[in-house]
Structure formats: C-alpha cells, structure tokens
Subunit: 413 residues, 2 copies
C-alpha cells in the first residue's frame, strides 16, 4: 500500500492528476431545461497520437468517477476503479491508446452536480439540479472531446450504466465513434430493475434528513437512506452463489443471539458497505444516476424496435456479459447483439463464465481481460494505434503465453 | 362483494368467527427466556371427527394470520388468505377435515405479540418482546391442539415460512403428526435471503419513528421503514417475468416526467402496497418474523446434515415448489426431498410450472390445487377422514373431470 509499490506495479499508469474543464455554453437537456454552464473533472492516460485517432472514452457506472486508473499522490494505495483494465500493457493498453475517464455531469466527485453552487442563486443546486439522461451525458462528453481535440473516438467503453453510454454514443454521434465496448449492460432496465431502483430512491427521499433534496443547507445528509440504497444495490451486484460461498450463514458468535443487532456475517458486510458509501456519496447524485438508468431505452424512439433504433449506428460493437450476473444477465446483452445483427452491424460478443455476478465486470478474470485485449488489438489495427509492444498484463502479471492470444477469440460469435 | 355472494360462493366455508385461547403456563423459548403466558387467536373450519384424527393445522407465512378461509361478518367481501385451498369440496376439503388456522405468537392480528400488554409491566412489550423461532411456534401450536382436544394432526401444512413450521412439526413432535405439507419453502435461508431480510430490518430500525421498538408509547409507527420493507419484499415474492408482463415499463404520463415522483406503473404498485402494509402491520412483528426465517435451520443441530436431522421424523411428506419462485426456488425444495429420501422417509414432490414467483403458493393454479387435493385424498384415506363427496372445487368451479384426478400425480417422484 506504499507509494513505491503502487508506482512500480507492472501495468500501472502511475500517479495521475485530475484535470478540470469548464463549458460556458448552455447544455440543453432531455428534461427540457438547460444547464447554463458546467464543469467536468477528468483524467487521461497515455498520449493522443498525431492522427488523433487513438482516444478511448471510459464511461462510469452508478457510483463510479473519473479516477479510472493509476493513483493519486494523496492516496497512493488506492488504484482507479478499472486499473486492472487500463494501463501500459493491459487490455486497454495506454502505450497505444489515449484513455479518458471523467466524472459524469450530475456526479459527486468534482463535476458539476447537485452539490455544486448554482451560479444563478449562489446556493447549492440540491433539488433544483435537473434530471440528466444518458443522452445528456453523451453530449457533455462530446464537448469534453472537443476540448481535448478529439474529433472521433477509437472507442467508448463502459460496464453497466457505463456500457449504456458507450451504446448511446453510437446513436448520438455515429460519425464520432469507431467502436463501442459495451460490458454487462442492457438495452433498457427490466421492471424488476426499476423496482429495485425505486426502493433505493424511496429509502433516500423518505429519510427525514433528505429535506426534499436540500439537505446541504441543513448541514446533514440522508445517511440512513443512502445506506439502505447501497445495501440493496450490493445484493443485486453479487451473485447468490458468491454471497453463499463468501458469507454463508456464518454468525459472529457461537450461537444465535436472539436480538436485532448485527449477527450474520452478511449483515456485517452489507452494513459496513452501506455506512461507508453513505459517508462519501451524494444522495441527489444517487437519485439522478438511478433515474438515468430507468430512462435509458434507445428502442423507445423506434416504437420499441431495437434493431431499427440501432440502424443509425456506424460503429463496430463488442459486448460482453457474465454468466452469474442477475442484474443484467447475458440474455440482456444478447438482445443487443441480436438487434445489431438484425441491423447488419459488425458485432463481437463474449459470454464470460464468472461466479461474481454483475460486479464481475470490475474484477480480475483472465478470459474476460484477454477477450477485451483481443478486441482492442483489433481496434488498434483499425485506427492506427500501433501494435502491442509487450505481453498482456492481467492482474499485475505478464502473460507470456499470450503471444498467441488472438486465438482466444473463441467467445466471439 | 355482498354477504350473499360470499355466502353462496361454491366451496366457501362461509362466515367464520375468530376464537381465542389463553395459555397460563410459561412457555420456554429458544432465546433462553420464557413468556409467562400468552393468548392465541385462531379459526377452525369443518368438524373434528369422533376419532379426532382429521385435524389439519395451517401455518401462516411472514405477514399471514389466522383468517385462512371464509369471511368475517364485518368484511364479507374479503376472503381468508388461503380460501382457494380450504373449504367444502376444495383441495383441503372441510367436509372431511377439521382445519385450524392461527395467528402465530408474536403476530399482530390478535395473538400475543410486541403490541400486547406485558402483564409484568402493564405496558406494551415493544422492544422487550422476545425473539421467537419456528420451534417456539410449534410448541405454542401444540398447546393449542391440546386445548382443542387434538392429540395427533392428520397434517400440518403451510407455504414459505408456513412450510418451515410444517417441517419443524415432524421434528419437534414426530408422534403427533401424520403428514407434513411443505410448499414453496426451504430447509434454511440462503445468504441472499438473509441479506434481503436485513435490508428490510435496517429500514425499520433506522426509521426515526421506530424509537428502538417502543414506538407505541410515542403514538407513532415507523411507516417509512415498514413501507420500504414491504416494497422490497414484494419484489422478491414475484417473478421477474411476471413483473415484466404485468407492469413492463409503463409510465403514468405520455412521456418521461424528469422528476422523482411516482412515474413508472411498477413504482405506483409497490408504493401502494408498501403504504397499505405500513398502516396495518406491526413493525416489531415484521422484525420477529424475518428473524424466525433467518434462524430456521433444522440441519444445524446435526452438523449441517439435513438427512440426519430429518431422521427423527415419522411423518409422511408432500412438498411442492414453483418454477419461477426465486425466493425459494425448486432447488431448495429438492434439497429437502433428497434429504428425506436419504433418510428413508416417504415423500411426494411436485414441481409446478407457474409464472408468478413465490406468491404462486397463494394463487389459483389448477395443477397445483389438483396435486394438493390428490395428496389430501391420500391423507384422508390414511387417517380415516372419509371420501371426497363431490368433485374438486378450484377457483370457485367444480372440476367434473376430476373423477380421475388421481392420475395427475405424475408430478410425484
């Protein structure tokens, strides 16, 4: 956990410094309102090549942020959330690609969001911050690319809600994206997905400390509601089998305690995760992110015909799903794959056997990372990002045998 | 919805009046404490035969009660919760069986529970009401049978937590039960089951109106927490497919509203169910019932060996599960069936194809009800409860073709 260790870890981009960009032009939102201006916090890894053809945008999921890879000087032991995916020699090889991570508009890690000061009032937005959508995020991200001098993305990529953004990129700006890498996502939420989100939102808004979204001025946070939302979320991120093998029915004492305090290990784990999250995450951002999930439904504009909706895309697609993911199970990715095939698009798809549930997209898995690496080799060849200079690094180790890993594309249809 | 209609509905037991029984002898609980005395509210349907051999105990699940069948004079439109299962001519035929339904100890529908007055203090029990277990319930039910002059049950039956009680009966009082009918149950909760229960409990205990369980003296109820618990519960009671086909992604308006008020139909449904439940159910009872679920684990006393644990049983068993139940899926019932087979017990098992999820055990389903009816014919023959005098009634209609319904036992192993 020392700076030295983090610095020398094979495949780490090393120390990174977040950057900021301010956008003065009003952004028209799907909600029918406009944000008069906004700031985005972001990080970049690798170098933009002379042809400006090697940019990869990494979109984050519900609770993610701009810190995708490497570490910050003030917290050298904590790597970015997709550090196992992005770095020199890794699946998304920063020796070849210029990788951009950002905190989405409405977020709570530095970009303009509900906790930011509304210039019109001089007070925090709070409840007045608009509901933003996946489409809105893509527009705000397009402006960030303009700012960085990137006309066309080699790829947009993301898992879960991040994958939805990658997919939306191909529809909002078909001429500005060569490849979409859509992992553990869905073309729209199921009724059950929405139901879980609503329980989470109700937990937050019914917390007396929420104050209708304006808790900032009451010097409090709806910690009880956020904790419940996170506990519930965690259950849906993990597979039932993984929960069983990790926690089982283990209890803290020798025998049942016959009380309502924490007793089973799974209770201890969930409450700890919930408490930790409630201390760092903004409740309004949580509401906003879940609503963006609920609203995402590109087929809606095409009377529910996903293939027709995806017809506008010009990108090539890579999708991956995980066998034990019950939040966005493989069936949901297959819906997208089948619609893309029907629409005559180029699509590769990998269904990864993994026990972890939805969270698998964030975890070490050699087959998964090899498959993504193979697809990024294809992207590199397509956009002129150069060849891989060293063996693939997975989980901190070089895979020497990976010289022939193009042969592992068996998971592609 | 008139009294007349309810009275003449084919297969209805008609108007019923709840009864009460008081038990003065202290009841020693698994928690290591004793209740100095308690009352149980119950209903009976049909007549106890001369041999006292035809009694069937119906055990309720998390939010159930003693009102199993028929209707009360003050609410003639509302039938008991298992009215489609219990009545003259129905699967559990009250022309042949003496059926007993009760509100469990710790409940909130008339039996002694957290909202009752503690005779030692003259105040409501509240937080001081002991945690009770499935084993404790069986003991309290055994005393009710003594009170009713029933030495040995023809059957104990129940769904979900009710099925766990039926199973426990065969272990606690092997000589007092001939058949156990265990529907949509499990031999113990999975880690995920416990996790969902803990989120529900945390929602309740973190509601500022909970007051550590003594909300009665504050003239309030933790309605926010109870609502969240019920919303979450409902999601797990229904299959994802049923939610999808029933509510889809329907919204209240023409287009997205871009607000956090109720918008999707599923939100409206869940919040309505949650609000309704919060008005009628006791929060302490909810905690207690979920904890009884968490603790149930008969194999625990046999070092996890369920077959060995069930070795003490002398009853014959019928189990049923439903294909779309993801709370207690068929795999969980099969665990019990396999352990019973291993222990050399007589067991019949039906796996019913039904789209409704866990709630299927409460719903009309001809194959399900025919299968249960067939098993109760076997019970009737076993205990001398007489032959079925009329065709089976399912969903209010006589099934004439059911004369040969013994042939539908194909679901039994």
């Amino acid at each position: 956990m020392s700076t030295t260790n983090a610095t020398i870890a094979p495949g780490s981009v090393g120390e990174v410094v977040p950057q900021r960009a301010a956008f003065a032009e009003p952004l028209a939102l799907k909600a029918g309102r406009a944000l008069s201006g906004y700031e985005l916090v972001f990080e970049t890894y690798g170098e933009l090549n002379a042809a400006r053809s090697n940019a990869v945008l990494v979109c984050h999921a519900l609770s993610g942020n701009h810190h995708v890879a490497g570490f910050h000087r003030d917290n050298p032991g904590k790597a970015g959330w997709w550090d196992n995916m992005v770095g020199p020699g890794k699946a998304v090889d920063t020796n070849r690609f210029f990788v951009i991570g950002l905190n989405n508009l409405g977020g709570c890690h530095g970009s303009t969001g509900p906790a930011s000061i509304d210039p019109a009032t001089g007070k925090r937005y709070g409840a007045s911050f608009p509901v933003v959508t996946v489409e809105d995020w893509v527009e705000s991200q397009a402006r960030l690319l303009d700012h960085l001098g990137v006309r066309r993305l080699a790829a947009a990529m993301g898992g879960s809600l991040g994958g939805m953004q990658a997919l939306q990129w191909t529809l909002s700006h078909p001429d500005r994206i060569a490849h979409a890498v859509v992992i553990a996502a869905a073309p729209k939420l199921s009724t059950q997905n929405i139901a879980f989100n609503d329980v989470a939102r109700q937990a937050i808004v019914s917390d007396p400390d929420f104050h209708g979204g304006d808790f900032y001025s009451h010097n409090t946070v709806p910690a009880r509601g956020l904790k419940l939302a996170r506990m519930l979320g965690h259950i849906t991120y993990l597979s039932e089998d993984l929960l069983g093998s990790k926690f089982g029915r283990e209890i803290k004492g020798e025998d049942y305690g016959f009380h309502y305090d924490v007793e089973f290990e799974i209770e201890s784990y969930l409450r700890y995760q919930g408490d930790k999250f409630a201390q760092i995450f903004d409740a309004n951002t949580y509401l906003l992110m879940t609503k963006a999930l609920d609203y995402f439904d590109p087929a809606r504009a095409a009377d529910g015909d996903l293939a027709r909706a995806l017809g506008a895309a010009q990108a090539q697609f890579f999708l991956a799903s995980f066998s034990s993911d019950w939040r966005f199970p493989p069936e949901r990715s297959r819906e997208v794959v089948e619609a893309l095939v029907k629409a005559g698009k180029s699509v590769s798809y990998a269904e990864i056997d993994a026990p972890h549930g939805h969270d698998a997209f964030l975890l070490d898995n050699a087959l998964y990372h090899r498959t993504v690496a193979a697809y990024f080799d294809r992207i590199a060849a397509d956009v002129g990002a150069g060849a891989r200079a060293r063996p693939l690094i997975i989980g901190g180790a070089e895979l020497e045998e990976m010289k022939g890993y193009a042969g592992t594309r068996e998971a592609e249809p």
